[in-house]
């Protein structure tokens, strides 16, 4: 592990992007910030710009209108960064993968580090996946 990654994993700043989801995963991500799960106790903060982010949490199938924006957001994020696909839609396209407006799934568009399937994955699943990712880097 190089020094950049070591510094990165101290306190992760998270940017959340929805690329055509049903909003459930987004609400569950927001729920991680609420008093019950409170991910701020690990030093994680949800930030408003990809330029400040270490982790991209991406939800939803990638629709054709969103394709360019996903690439743009990934390009703007300082490297190294982690990309987390949250929810079945982001992992594979769910039931919408036969639809005419799908350009994804996410792994075909940008490199993804960890997949969290589930429809939607609960806050507990999201947190334990991030913990798994951090343990893997050790």
């Amino acid at each position: 592990m190089n020094i950049k990654t070591r510094a990165l994993k101290k306190s992760l700043w998270v940017y959340h992007l929805s690329t055509g989801s049903c909003n459930n995963c987004d609400i569950e991500i927001l729920d991680c910030l609420s008093p019950r799960f409170d991910i701020e106790r690990f030093g994680m903060v949800l930030v408003g710009s990809p330029k400040h982010a270490d982790v991209l949490l991406i939800t939803g199938i990638v629709t054709k209108k969103n394709l360019e924006r996903v690439k743009e957001v990934y390009h703007e994020t300082p490297k190294p960064c982690f990309v987390v696909a949250v929810g079945t839609c982001a992992c594979s396209g769910n039931m919408f993968r036969s639809g005419y407006n799908m350009a994804g799934p996410l792994k075909n568009v940008i490199p993804v580090d960890v997949f969290i399937p589930g429809c939607p994955p609960g806050p507990a699943a999201i947190i334990s996946a991030v913990v798994k990712l951090l343990n893997k880097l050790k």
Partner: protein, 394 residues
């Protein structure tokens, strides 16, 4: 006149269609709004034509995460309307219970986010704390915190047992006292009044022109509610009332939503009384679906959900039209945003209750110099929060 164009979005997920608002501004004031959508467009109406009738319930459940019971109920209503069948009584009560619990959690979620947008993070934290036991209840009743997969054509998929009823009653009692406190805090806070009263007013005519539904319409004094007008599930057996307000501003929308929570609690408690210590069928099995057409409606959290299905006797619908309530509620921005300041746009937007997520990218374009400056959605929220701070000081 120097006009500034502020694109709001496009990452702004509504149910089917997250929107991209282009605000034409004169200084701080909004003079025109344009709406572009399709960033979340997944082609569900077309995919529905390739799925089995029974599988479509799972598909429509994923139109919107928060309305994940409303769409299946409306769809099941539509197919049952086509078939002309009735569902067992116990199934009706279970459908009502799940629908109302969904309404409770969604209205609380809305109150929290509205608080966050106004810079009242205490409200956000409180409400989301109160909402959590409800989600736990949902997990216990249906097996998941969201996306309940309870509705089946002709009934429901899971039964509720007496132990669960007991736990649910306890949760509702606590929630009621908490909600009472919250309603009082919101209603007589002078700063909130200053921020919300007479902001984003919608008149009765605007409501009619755009066909707006749900709490948005009811806050403007338009007394419509599908649960009462065209009763389905168990709503006709139960005693409850429709909440309306007259002014049509954001404050009234908040009041309608908060008071509806009490009605929901009342409805669930009555339903629980009727099904406790009783047993019964929960499913009226449907074997085949004949050719024909059907319309189903459901009063979702944000208004009327409308489903139209047409069958030709095969195993999947040949046309399935879905109208989510935001499809008609969102265009009312054209009326409510014009003449307001940019810092109020965030809360007017929130007032209609589209499903918004917390982080959004907004770029500010200066129409004259064409110079692009990227700011974030958080900045608009921060602007809104600063205004509240100023008001607090004065």
């Amino acid at each position: 006149m120097k006009k500034i164009i502020v694109p709001l979005g496009p990452d702004h997920p509504l149910f089917e269609e997250p929107e991209f608002f282009i605000l034409h501004c004169d200084g701080e004031n909004v003079v025109d709004v344009e709406w572009q959508a399709g960033y979340n467009h997944r082609g569900i109406e077309k995919i529905s034509e390739t799925k089995h009738w029974d599988q479509v319930t799972f598909l429509v459940e994923r139109i919107c995460g928060i309305c994940s019971n409303s769409h299946p109920v409306a769809y099941a209503n539509a197919v049952e309307n086509l078939l002309g069948i009735d569902i067992p009584e116990r199934a009706k009560y279970i459908r009502t219970i799940i629908s109302e619990m969904e309404r409770l959690h969604s209205h609380l979620l809305w109150a929290g986010l509205a608080g966050h947008f106004l810079g009242y993070n205490t409200v956000f934290m409180w409400v989301w704390k109160y909402r959590e036991p409800l989600l736990d209840m949902m997990e216990m009743l249906t097996g998941n915190r969201n996306n309940y997969s309870m509705i089946k054509i002709g009934g429901v998929r899971r039964d509720i047992n007496d132990e669960q009823i007991k736990a649910l009653r306890k949760t509702l009692d606590t929630l009621k006292t908490q909600n009472e406190m919250l309603t009082k805090v919101v209603l007589d806070d002078p700063v909130l009044q200053a921020r919300l009263v007479n902001v984003g007013v919608l008149t009765k005519k605007d409501i009619k022109d755009y066909g707006a539904v749900g709490p948005v319409a009811r806050a403007s004094g338009v007394d419509i509610d599908v649960r009462r007008d065209n009763p389905y599930a168990a709503y006709s057996f139960i005693d409850w009332k429709v909440i309306t307000r007259e002014n049509g501003d954001v404050f009234d929308k908040a009041v309608v939503r908060l008071l509806e929570c009490f009605e929901s609690i009342k409805i669930i408690q009555q339903c629980l009384d009727r099904i406790e210590n009783k047993k019964g069928e929960i499913l009226n099995e449907v074997k085949e679906i004949p050719p024909g057409e059907g319309i189903g409606r459901h009063e979702a959290l944000r208004g009327e959900v409308f489903h139209y299905v047409r069958s030709d006797g095969t195993s999947s619908p040949i046309r399935h039209k879905i109208r989510a309530p935001s499809y008609v509620n969102v265009p009312t921005f054209k009326k409510s945003c014009i003449g307001q300041t940019i810092s109020d746009v965030a809360i007017i937007l929130a007032g209609v209750d589209p499903c918004y997520c917390c982080t959004e990218r907004v770029s500010v374009y200066d129409a004259n110099t064409r110079k692009k400056k990227n700011v974030t959605w958080t900045e608009i929220v921060r602007k809104s929060q600063e205004k509240t701070k100023k008001l607090k000081k004065s």
